[in-house]
C-alpha cells in the first residue's frame, strides 16, 4: 500500500488505565490493506513542546468500518495532549509505515508483549490465525494497569500474564515466566516491548533455536526513511527502523 497522509476523525477515546487510552480513528476513505506491525505517525495539535509527529503501532484494523485502533501510554507532553483529544476531533496521520511482521503459515507461534509493546500484537495475531497458525500470548507489565484488550486477545489465543508487582497474573518479568521454559515448542516468537525485555527474550529464543522477530521503537524524526535518525545496527550496517523495520529478525541485529 502507498503511504498516505490523511485526517482521521476520533470516534472513541477511551481511558484504559490512569495513564493510557485507546483511540479509535475513522478514515473517510476505504482503508487499504495494512500489514500487522506497521505503525502510524500522528501530528499532535496544540502541544507547545511537541514539534515532531509521534509514532504509534496499529493495534487493530476494522476494514468494514474503516477504523484503526491505537493504544497510547502517556509518557510526555505529546501523549498527554493526545489524551485530551475528544470524539469528533480530527487527527492527521501518516500511515501505514514500516515493513510489518512476516506472517508464517501453519506454525505454532508465541507473541510476547511488554507494556505498550502489547499493542501491535492483536492485529498480528488475527493475521496469524487467518494463516492457520496456533497463537499463544505472553504479556508483561509493571502492574495490572499496563495490560489491556485481554478479551480481544483471548479470542485469538491462550494468554498468560506476568506483572512485576503481581497485581495480575504471575509475579515477575514476563521473560521469567513458565512459558519461557517451553520455547522449543514454538516455531517462532514475535515480540514488542522494552528493549531489555526483548533482548532477554532474543537470548532465550536463540538458546531454544527459535526464530525471533522483534519490533523496535527507536526515536524517529520522519518515519519514512528520509532522515536516517532511527537506525539500528545490523549485520549489514545501520538500517532504518522506520522503513527497514520496525520488525527485525534478531539474528540480523547486533544484539
Amino acid at each position: 500500500m502507498k503511504k498516505q497522509i490523511k485526517d482521521f476523525v476520533i470516534i472513541q477515546n477511551q481511558r484504559v488505565s490512569p495513564d493510557s487510552f485507546m483511540l479509535r480513528l475513522r478514515c473517510f476513505d476505504p482503508l487499504e490493506e495494512i500489514k500487522p506491525g506497521q505503525f502510524v505517525e500522528i501530528l499532535v495539535n496544540n502541544s507547545q513542546s511537541t514539534f515532531l509527529r509521534r509514532p504509534f503501532s496499529i493495534h487493530d484494523v476494522d476494514y468494514k468500518e474503516n477504523i484503526i485502533s491505537v493504544y497510547i501510554k502517556i509518557v510526555g507532553d505529546g501523549t498527554r495532549q493526545l489524551a485530551y483529544s475528544e470524539e469528533g476531533d480530527y487527527l492527521n496521520l501518516v500511515y501505514p509505515l514500516g515493513n510489518g511482521f512476516e506472517i508464517l503459515e501453519n506454525k505454532k507461534v508465541l507473541l510476547v508483549g511488554g507494556g505498550c509493546g502489547i499493542a501491535p500484537l492483536l492485529y498480528l495475531s488475527k493475521k496469524l490465525n487467518e494463516a492457520n497458525n496456533e497463537v499463544d500470548f505472553a504479556f508483561g507489565g509493571k502492574s495490572h494497569d499496563d495490560i489491556f484488550s485481554i478479551e480481544e486477545f483471548e479470542q485469538e489465543g491462550c494468554v498468560s500474564i506476568s506483572t512485576e508487582d503481581g497485581s495480575f497474573g504471575e509475579k515477575g518479568y514476563v521473560t521469567q515466566s513458565q512459558l519461557m521454559y517451553q520455547l522449543e515448542e514454538y516455531d517462532a516468537v514475535y515480540t514488542c516491548g522494552p528493549e531489555p525485555m526483548m533482548k532477554a527474550l532474543a537470548k532465550l529464543a536463540a538458546e531454544a533455536k527459535v526464530e525471533c522477530y522483534v519490533s523496535l521503537e527507536n526515536t524517529m524524526a520522519c518515519g519514512i526513511g528520509a532522515c536516517l535518525c532511527c537506525v539500528t545496527e545490523t549485520t549489514k550496517g545501520n538500517k532504518c527502523v522506520c522503513t527497514e523495520g520496525p520488525v527485525f529478525n534478531t539474528k540480523d541485529l547486533k544484539w
Binding site: K3, I5, R53, N218, C227, L228, E233
Partner: protein
C-alpha cells in the same frame, strides 16, 4: 500568470523551492506524497567518496520548535550513488543537486570529478558546514581561508554549477560568503544547522551519542533570516535561503530578505507534502499582491527601507 522561474547562473529552476539535503532522501522517499516534478529542485543526501556508517544511535533529539540530529553523513558513497541511485532518479523533471561532503579536499575533488559526467546533475551543493563529523565538515566552513581554498580546488575540478553551503556557526558569515564568491562559487546556500546539544536530566547524560548535533527547524529561522539578509547584501551571486521554513509565509520571508530561492528541510518530516504546498503558496502570494515574478520580491525589505 505569475512567473516562478529563477536562475542560478545559466541554470533555470521552474520555481524557487528546493528540498534540503539530508531531509528529503533521494526524492523517492517522498514520491507517495509529492509530485517531485513540481519542485524547483531536490538536493540529495550528503555524499562522500567512501561509504560511511554515520554516528551511533541515538542520533536525534527533539528541542523547542526544532530538533538536533547527529546522523553524521551516513551514505553509501559516490559510486553507489552513480551506479544505483542516479539511474533510478534521473528521470525526474527537476534539477537534482548532489550535496558533496568529505574530510579532505582531495576527497571532495574526487567526488565532484565523478559527478561531472552525470548529464542530469546540473549542479552540486558543496557542504562545508556539516557539524556532525569529526574531521573536515564544518571546519572548512568556519574560516575564510579554508572556505576559499576548498572552493578553489573544487572549482578547478567541476565545470557545472557550484552552490556552497555555509555554516552558521561563525562570527561573520558574510565574509565567508564573499571569499567563496571570489573563488568562483556560483551561489551560496545557508544556513546549515547550528551546533547544539541536548541533555537528559533524568539520565544525566547527553541525548545524542555524539554529545553535540545540528539544530534545525523553526527555532533557527530568525538566525537564518538574519544571515541570509547579511549575505545577500554582501555578494552578487544568488543566495539560497533555508532554516526553519515550515510554510509558504516563512519561504516568502527568506525571499524578502534577499534569497533567490529557498530550501525546505525539517518541515518535510512533519508534513511530507509541504514542499509542493510551498510552491503553491508562493504563487498564491505573488498573485494576491499583484507581483509578476518571484524577482519582484527578492530583497524587497532592503528596497523599501
Amino acid at each position: 500568470m505569475v512567473d516562478l522561474n529563477i536562475k542560478i547562473k545559466d541554470l533555470l529552476f521552474k520555481n524557487p523551492v528546493l528540498t534540503a539535503s539530508g531531509t528529503f532522501g533521494f526524492g523517492e522517499e517522498f514520491a507517495d506524497f509529492v509530485d517531485i516534478n513540481n519542485l524547483g529542485g531536490i538536493i540529495v543526501k550528503g555524499t562522500t567518496l567512501e561509504h560511511r556508517e554515520g554516528n551511533p544511535y541515538p542520533r536525534m533529539a527533539e528541542t523547542p520548535s526544532g530538533m538536533l540530529n547527529a546522523v553524521g553523513l551516513q551514505n553509501k558513497g559516490v559510486d553507489n550513488f552513480i551506479n544505483d541511485i542516479y539511474p533510478r532518479i534521473k528521470h525526474y523533471d527537476t534539477n537534482i543537486l548532489v550535496n558533496v561532503s568529505g574530510s579532505k579536499i582531495e576527497d571532495y575533488v574526487a567526488v565532484v570529478e565523478k559527478l561531472n559526467h552525470l548529464d542530469k546533475i546540473p549542479a552540486i551543493e558543496l557542504n562545508i558546514s556539516c557539524p556532525n563529523v569529526k574531521e573536515g565538515g564544518m571546519a572548512f566552513g568556519t574560516s575564510c581561508a579554508s572556505a576559499a581554498l576548498i572552493t578553489k580546488e573544487v572549482r578547478k575540478a567541476y565545470n557545472k554549477i557550484i552552490m556552497v553551503k555555509l555554516s552558521p556557526n561563525v562570527s561573520n558569515i558574510a565574509d565567508i560568503a564573499k571569499s567563496v564568491e571570489d573563488e568562483g562559487a556560483d551561489s551560496v546556500s545557508l544556513i546549515n544547522t547550528l551546533l547544539g546539544m541536548a541533555i537528559d536530566a533524568h539520565k544525566r547524560k547527553p541525548v545524542l551519542s555524539t554529545f553535540t548535533g545540528g539544530l534545525s527547524g523553526p527555532c533557527i529561522k530568525p538566525v537564518a533570516l538574519r544571515m541570509v539578509w547579511q549575505v545577500a547584501n554582501r555578494v552578487k551571486i544568488p543566495v539560497v535561503g533555508l532554516g526553519g521554513i515550515m510554510n509558504p509565509i516563512d519561504a516568502i520571508e527568506f525571499l524578502l530578505a534577499g534569497a533567490t530561492a529557498v530550501q525546505v528541510g525539517t518541515a518535510n518530516f512533519i508534513d511530507p507534502q509541504i514542499s509542493e504546498k510551498i510552491v503553491q503558496g508562493i504563487e498564491d502570494y505573488l498573485e494576491l499582491h499583484n507581483f509578476k515574478s518571484v524577482y519582484d520580491i527578492i530583497g524587497l525589505i532592503n528596497r523599501e527601507k
